[in-house]
C-alpha cells in the first residue's frame, strides 16, 4: 500500500511538472537599425548577428520587405541553429540604383523568422512564433543645399552663462561652406534683450556639425531664443525657450488614453507645483517634428491655476487625421505667469496608442580649464631613492670584492712589559696559501685573518 502511494505521488509530481513546464522561444538580432547615405550605384555588405539565447535547435528563415527590398541580396535565406550555437552571423548586400527620386529616408527590413514544423514536416497550425527585424535606412539627399537645424539650450543661474547648441544637419547634395547662427533672445514681454552669434563651420554633404554660442544672463526669468542659421546665403530658423533661475512647475507624465489613429487624441500632461504658493496661468504646449524636422503637432492646454504643492493634469487635443505611425521627437514647453521652461519629448504613435516620454536635455556639463600639475610625483622620489640605493650597493660590492678572496696575515711582535705591535701584513689573493705567507713573514704568523676561509679550504 505504501509502495503504491509512493508511486502515485511520484507520478503525480511528474505530471504536474509536465503541465507546469513552459515552452520558451527567444530570438534576437543586431544591429536593430543601420543608416547609410545614398550614393548612386552604391554596393555595401552589411553583417547581421542572430542570437539563440535559449540555446535551442531551430531553423529560421530570412526575407526582406519594404520599398527598397528589390535592392537587397541575401547571402542566405535560412539559418539552422543547434543548441550549442548561441549566435550566428550572416551578410547581405545592398545595391542601390543610379537614382532615387524622392529625397529623405527610405527603408528596407531584413526579417528573421522562426520556422516551426510538426514531426510530419508540416507547418504548425496553432501556436506562436517570433520574428525580429533589422532595419536599413537609406538617406537620399535633397537637391542643392539643404540644411535642418535643432536647438538645445542649457539654462543657467543668475550671472552664469547660458549655452546654446545648434545642431545643423546638411541633408543636401552640396557641401555648405559656411554655416553660422544668429540668436535673438527675447524676455517674457517679448522684448529683444540680446543678439549673439555662434561660431562658423563648414558642413560637408550628409554630415552634421554643432554650432555653439553663450550668453551671460544677468536677470532671472524666462526667455525665448530664436536661432537663424545662415548657410551660404540660405536660412533656416529654429526656436527654443529657457529659464534663468529656478522653475516651479515640474512635468511628471504625458499620457493619452482610448486613442485611435485618425481621431482626436486627448493629451493629459501631469505637472506638479513645487512652490509653496499658487501658480496662475499654467499652460502646457506640445510640439512634434518628423524626421525631416517638419512640425506635425503644435497644441496647447488652456491656462489654469495650480494650488501650492499639488499636482494637476493639463489637457491638450491633437487631430491625428493624416498622421502616420512612427516615433517623433518634440518638445514640452511649460509656462506660468512670466516664466517658461522646455523639455525634449519622444512620442510613439501607433494605430491604437500614443506613448510619450520626457527625455529632456542630457549630457551637458561645464568643462573645467585644464591645468598642468607642477608637483613632483611621489613615485619620482622613490625612483631617485632606488637609484641612489643601487649606487650605494655598487660601491659596497666593489669594496667587498676587494676584500674578498684575500687573506691577511699579520705578524705582531710583542715586547715584554709593553705592548708593541709590529704589523706586517701580507695580503695574499686568490690561490696563495698560508705556506707562502709564512715565508714572507719570516715563518711567523701570529694573526691570521681569514676572510675567505671557505675559499682557502677549497683551494686545498
Amino acid at each position: 500500500m505504501k509502495k503504491i502511494n509512493k508511486f502515485g505521488a511520484v507520478l503525480f509530481l511528474i505530471i504536474l511538472g509536465i503541465l507546469i513546464i513552459k515552452d520558451v522561444n527567444a530570438l534576437g538580432i543586431s544591429p536593430g537599425r543601420t543608416t547609410i547615405n545614398f550614393e548612386p550605384n552604391l554596393e555595401k555588405d552589411i553583417t547581421l548577428t542572430v542570437f539563440n539565447s535559449e540555446n535551442k535547435d531551430f531553423t529560421a528563415t530570412i526575407f526582406t520587405r519594404g520599398e527598397l527590398r528589390n535592392y537587397v541580396e541575401l547571402e542566405q535565406t535560412e539559418l539552422k541553429f543547434s543548441s550549442e550555437e548561441s549566435q550566428k552571423s550572416f551578410n547581405y548586400k545592398i545595391k542601390l540604383p543610379e537614382k532615387i527620386e524622392k529625397p529623405g529616408s527610405h527603408r528596407v527590413e531584413i526579417v528573421v523568422r522562426q520556422i516551426s514544423k510538426t514531426k510530419e514536416g508540416e507547418d504548425i497550425v496553432i501556436g506562436a512564433l517570433v520574428a525580429v527585424v533589422s532595419q536599413l535606412d537609406v538617406k537620399v539627399p535633397f537637391p542643392g543645399k539643404y540644411a535642418v537645424a535643432h536647438l538645445d539650450i542649457l539654462g543657467a543661474k543668475e550671472n552664469e552663462e547660458v549655452k546654446f547648441f545648434i545642431r545643423v544637419t546638411n541633408l543636401g547634395e552640396e557641401d555648405i561652406e559656411k554655416a553660422k547662427a544668429t540668436i535673438l533672445i527675447y524676455d517674457s514681454s517679448n522684448k529683444e534683450v540680446a543678439k549673439i552669434e555662434s561660431d562658423e563651420k563648414a558642413i560637408k554633404t550628409k554630415n552634421r556639425k554643432e554650432l555653439k554660442a553663450t550668453w551671460k544672463a544677468n536677470v532671472l526669468g524666462s526667455y525665448r531664443a530664436v536661432a537663424l542659421v545662415n548657410y551660404d546665403g540660405l536660412l533656416t530658423k529654429v526656436e527654443g525657450s529657457f529659464r534663468v533661475g529656478d522653475f516651479l512647475l515640474k512635468p511628471l507624465d504625458i499620457s493619452v488614453k482610448n486613442f485611435r489613429l485618425g481621431q482626436i487624441a486627448k493629451f493629459n500632461i501631469l505637472v506638479e507645483n513645487s512652490a509653496n504658493r499658487e501658480i496662475k496661468d499654467a499652460v502646457a504646449q506640445l510640439l512634434l517634428f518628423d524626421e525631416n524636422e517638419n512640425k506635425i503637432m503644435d497644441i496647447k492646454s488652456g491656462p489654469t491655476e495650480i494650488e501650492a504643492l499639488s499636482k494637476k493634469e493639463l489637457l491638450a487635443y491633437w487631430d491625428t487625421e493624416g498622421v502616420k505611425e512612427g516615433t517623433y521627437i518634440g518638445k514640452l514647453i511649460l509656462t506660468y505667469e512670466d516664466n517658461s521652461y522646455e523639455r525634449q519629448i519622444r512620442t510613439a504613435v501607433t494605430e491604437n496608442s500614443i506613448k510619450t516620454e520626457i527625455i529632456g536635455i542630457t549630457a551637458f556639463a561645464i568643462a573645467a580649464p585644464e591645468t598642468e600639475s607642477k608637483k613632483v610625483p611621489v613615485l619620482m622620489l622613490i625612483m631617485i631613492i632606488l637609484i641612489l640605493s643601487n649606487i650605494a650597493w655598487f660601491i659596497y660590492l666593489k669594496n667587498f670584492k676587494k676584500s674578498k678572496g684575500e687573506t691577511k696575515y699579520t705578524k705582531i711582535k710583542k715586547l715584554e712589559g709593553k705592548k708593541e705591535v709590529e704589523k706586517a701584513e701580507v695580503k695574499l689573493e686568490g690561490k696563495k696559501l698560508a705556506e707562502e705567507a709564512k715565508e714572507k713573514l719570516d715563518g711567523e704568523i701570529v694573526k691570521k685573518e681569514l676572510e675567505d676561509l671557505d675559499k682557502e679550504k677549497r683551494l686545498r
Partner: protein, 171 residues
C-alpha cells in the same frame, strides 16, 4: 665576481624599467575599453584605461562641442545614463590628454516567447523599445491583427487561437 656583476646589472635594469613604467603611465593615458572603432551592444559601457586621469569626456561629435564630462578617480568608470545607438567619441584628460577614440553602439532587437497551453507571454529582452506587429495566420491567409509597443523588459500576455507571429522591430 662575475655573479656580482650580473646581480648588479639586473638590479639596474629593474630600477630602470620600473622608472620608465611609472613615469610613462603617470604622464600618459592608455585607453583600453571601448576599443577604438569597436561596436558595442551595451549602452552603458564601463570605460577602462591605464594611467592617471581626472576626467572622462564623451560626445557624439569629434569636436566635443557638447560633451558629457565625468570626474573620475580610478582606472574605470561606468556612465550613469544610457547612450544612444550612434557613434561616440571619447578621451581622457589628466596631466596629459589621451588620444580620441571612437565606438558605436548597436541595438539588439530580441523577443522571448513563453507559453503554457494557449497563454503566451511575449517579453522584450533586447536593448531597445520595440514596435511589435501581430500577424495571425488562418488557413494560409495572413492578416495583421494589430501592433503594440513593447518597452525594455516589458511583457504582454495573449490568449491565442490561431497560429500567430510576433515581429519585433526597433522603434
Amino acid at each position: 665576481m662575475k655573479t656580482n656583476k650580473i646581480y648588479f646589472g639586473i638590479g639596474i635594469l629593474i630600477i630602470l624599467l620600473f622608472t620608465i613604467l611609472i613615469s610613462y603611465s603617470n604622464n600618459n593615458l592608455i585607453q583600453l575599453y571601448p576599443e577604438n572603432n569597436s561596436i558595442l551592444t551595451d549602452s552603458q559601457p564601463t570605460f577602462k584605461w591605464v594611467g592617471k586621469a581626472d576626467k572622462l569626456i564623451i560626445d557624439d561629435n569629434d569636436e566635443f562641442t557638447s560633451p558629457v564630462i565625468e570626474n573620475v578617480e580610478d582606472n574605470s568608470y561606468r556612465i550613469n545614463n544610457k547612450l544612444n545607438f550612434i557613434k561616440y567619441y571619447w578621451k581622457l584628460s589628466g596631466n596629459k590628454n589621451s588620444s580620441v577614440w571612437q565606438f558605436r553602439i548597436d541595438s539588439v532587437v530580441a523577443l522571448e516567447l513563453k507559453n503554457q497551453s494557449n497563454l503566451y507571454n511575449i517579453t522584450n529582452v533586447g536593448t531597445t523599445d520595440l514596435d511589435v506587429e501581430v500577424i495571425e495566420e488562418e488557413r494560409s491567409l495572413r492578416k495583421i491583427t494589430g501592433s503594440f509597443i513593447l518597452r525594455l523588459n516589458e511583457t504582454q500576455q495573449f490568449n491565442l487561437k490561431n497560429k500567430t507571429i510576433f515581429i519585433g522591430k526597433q522603434r
